[in-house]
Each structure stands twice: as C-alpha cells, then as structure tokens.
C-alpha cells in the first residue's frame, strides 16, 4: 500500500502515452482524397454507371468486364441507360480518366489498396511517347 503514489503516477504516465495519438489528433480530421477530373470526364457528366455506384463498386464492374472479355469474348457493355461501351480498362476507362495519378492513385493511396492492374495494363494510352 505504500507504493500507491508510484503506481498511480506510473499509470497516469502510461495512459498519457497510450492515448497520445488520439488526443494529439483531436479535432484534426484527416483530409479525404482530392480527386481531379479531366475536362473530358467533366464533359461526359456520368461514367458508365452512376457515380455513387462507380465510387463503391468499380472493382466489381472491372472484374465483370475482365471475365466477360477474356473468357466469354463479350466486349460490349450496355449500361442501365442502354448506352454501349467497349469493355477496356486502357481504352475506355483511361480514355476519359487519363490522369491516373490524380484520379486512381489518389483514392487507392488514401485507402491503402494496391491494385496490380498497372503491372500489365498501360496507364495512359493517350500519353505522348
């Protein structure tokens, strides 16, 4: 019982250190990724699917595209409005979103995902050689 003050001081210091990251960052929300659209993407207004869908589910959509193109030889995507698109990451997606660094990478870095699309698919078909 004689060590109470040492134990308490130790505990206070311990909790102060453990909770340091929380109170240090209190009130400072980390800024979300600031995505830039190209002029072409802005002009098109909507992507192949509504923006909310694309934001949350683009990976499932790309997976569907990849499967159908490679394995079923079906290369045309018809969206909910009946509009047709060539299912190609390099030639369709990146035709509008030709700013991979400011578009794809910003969010992927923020959420710490590392898709390996770019190991094979060329980043920007419109880029000068």
């Amino acid at each position: 019982m004689n060590d109470r003050k040492y134990i308490l001081t130790g505990l206070v210091i311990f909790f102060a250190i453990v909770t340091f990251p929380f109170w240090y960052n209190l009130g400072k929300a980390a800024p979300g990724p600031d995505i830039k659209l190209t002029e072409k993407a802005k002009a098109a207004k909507t992507c192949v699917m509504p923006t909310s869908y694309m934001r949350a589910e683009h990976m499932q959509l790309l997976d569907l595209w990849r499967h159908n193109v490679v394995r079923n030889a079906e290369r045309v995507f018809v969206n909910t409005e009946g509009k047709e698109f060539n299912m190609s990451l390099s030639n369709t997606c990146l035709d509008c979103h030709s700013n991979k660094a400011d578009f794809c990478d910003k969010c992927h870095n923020y959420s710490s995902v590392r898709p390996y699309c770019w190991d094979c698919h060329i980043e920007n078909p419109k880029e000068a050689k």
């Binding site: 699917m49 569907l64 595209w65 990849r66 159908n68 490679v70 394995r71 079923n72 030889a73 079906e74 290369r75 045309v76 995507f77 018809v78 969206n79 909910t80 009946g82 060539n86 299912m87 390099s90 030639n91 390996y116 190991d119 094979c120 698919h121 060329i122 920007n124 078909p125 419109k126 880029e127 050689k129």
Partner: protein
C-alpha cells in the same frame, strides 16, 4: 417487476409484427427497384465467327527469312512482345524454324533442297485437343468454346509453366523478367505482361472481335490464310481441298489447327 414484464411482452409483440411483415416490405422495395433495367454485356456487331479458327501457311510462297520478317514484326509490335538478347529469356508468339525442327517426326532421307533451306513459320497451333489446357491447374489457359481458340487469361496465370512442359510445339514463353523495359515501341492499346506469366499467340482475338483478320495474316502478302475449319466454303478449306498439306507432330493426336502446304 410486473411492469417490466408487461413491457417485455409488448416489445416481443412488436418485434413479431415487424418480422412478419418483412416480406411485404421486401416485395415493395423490389417492385420499385426493378424500374431501372439491369446492365448487360454482349458481343460486338462486327465480330468474326467460326466453329474452329484455322490457319494455312503456304510455304511455296516463302523463299527467304526476309519474307517472314514483316509478319513476325507485325505481331510482336501489336502485342507488345519484348525482345531479349538472352535466348533463355526469349519471348515469341510467332517465329521461324527449320523444317527438321518444326517437323522432327517427318523428315525423310535426302530431303529436297527447297524444304531444307526455307524458313518455316511456326506459332501456337490452337489444337483441337490442347494438352496445355489439360495441364493448367488454374484454367488460365482454356479452349474457347465459341471459336476454338486456345486462350490465355493472363490474370489467372500463376506461372507454374506446366503448360510449357505440356506443349509439344514450344509455342509458349515464360516471362522470367519484367518485360516492359525490353519492349521497343509500346502499343498503348494492348496490355503488356508482367514477370511470372506465360504468354503465346492468341490468334488476335482482339482483332477478330472487331471484324479484322489476325495481324500476321494481314501482313503476310498471301502466305497465310485464315478461316473457319468447319465451313466448307471458307478460304482455308478451299486451299486444303486443292493442296497437299501437313501438320506438326500429327501423331501426338493434338489435332493442330495450323496447316502447312509444302
């Protein structure tokens, strides 16, 4: 106590009603959701169709290696095939081979001069009974039902190289290194490959899908003919009807779809 028990029973009743009416709510939601049509996928309008694509190589029109150069160049440029100086790392989709190596089971003694000297063009045979497909543990390589092309799904390839061991024609190459620095001119519309996957000729599926003949056929100056093997009116069948032709290592039973007129 009495009070809280009554309250508990009340809550139980409300929960039961909510659970009971859930299907009604779901039906209501589904009815309103189905107003927007589902997205779908389909084939392009200009796609070339066949039961089994095949190629006829007319070796009578080949005299020297320079006749084949533009053909190989057209393919390798279009598909971002890298060029490695080191033969162990070599990647090839379509290349030239001597007769005795392309047809090791056939050569007779006293082979005629022409056959002995001309280069033969060899590529994936898109076999009707492909041993590589049987060997692949991930179904990364598969025989496409719609037109008989032996396809590679590079996304699925794990680089085990069983297919390379299984292929009797050496038609497959493995990326031992990252191919990107070794591609002289990159075609931005076609993907490259990455280190650790196997690649080979795909009979230009991306061109067939938009109604074009394979790049090698287009660049061949009549040496190559492409068509449906099971359409009696097709160009390849006409050529096969009129000329004597051979196939590589026929005795293995893989049924190659590349025919050579000699």
């Amino acid at each position: 106590m009495e009070n809280s028990r009554r309250r508990f029973l009340e809550m139980l009743g409300i929960a039961a009603v909510a659970a009971g009416t859930q299907p009604v709510w779901n039906a209501f939601a589904a009815e309103h959701g189905s107003a927007t049509p589902e997205p779908s996928v389909k084939k392009g309008p200009n796609e070339l169709k066949a039961k089994q694509w095949a190629m006829v190589i007319d070796t009578r029109k080949i005299e020297k290696a320079s006749d084949l150069e533009p053909i190989i160049e057209a393919c390798h440029k279009l598909h971002n095939v890298p060029h490695f100086e080191n033969k162990h790392h070599e990647i090839k989709w379509i290349w030239e081979e001597e007769y005795i190596h392309a047809f090791p089971t056939d050569p007779n003694r006293f082979l005629d001069e022409r056959i002995h000297h001309i280069p033969f063009l060899v590529l994936c045979n898109h076999c009707e009974n492909p041993p590589c497909v049987r060997a692949c543990p991930t179904k990364a390589t598969f025989k496409r039902e719609s037109d008989g092309i032996v396809m590679m799904d590079f996304h699925r390839c794990i680089g085990c190289r069983f297919c390379m061991a299984a292929c009797p024609y050496g038609a497959r190459s493995f990326n031992f290194r990252d191919p990107r620095p070794f591609i002289k001119e990159t075609n931005k519309e076609f993907p490259t490959r990455m280190k650790g996957v196997v690649e080979k000729c795909q009979f230009c599926t991306e061109r067939l899908a938009v109604g074009l003949q394979p790049a090698c056929v287009e660049a061949s100056n009549g040496i190559l003919t492409f068509g449906d093997l099971y359409d009696e009116e097709s160009d390849v069948r006409k050529l096969l009807k009129e000329n004597f032709s051979i196939r590589r290592k026929q005795s293995l039973g893989t049924e190659p779809s590349v025919y050579y007129i000699v």
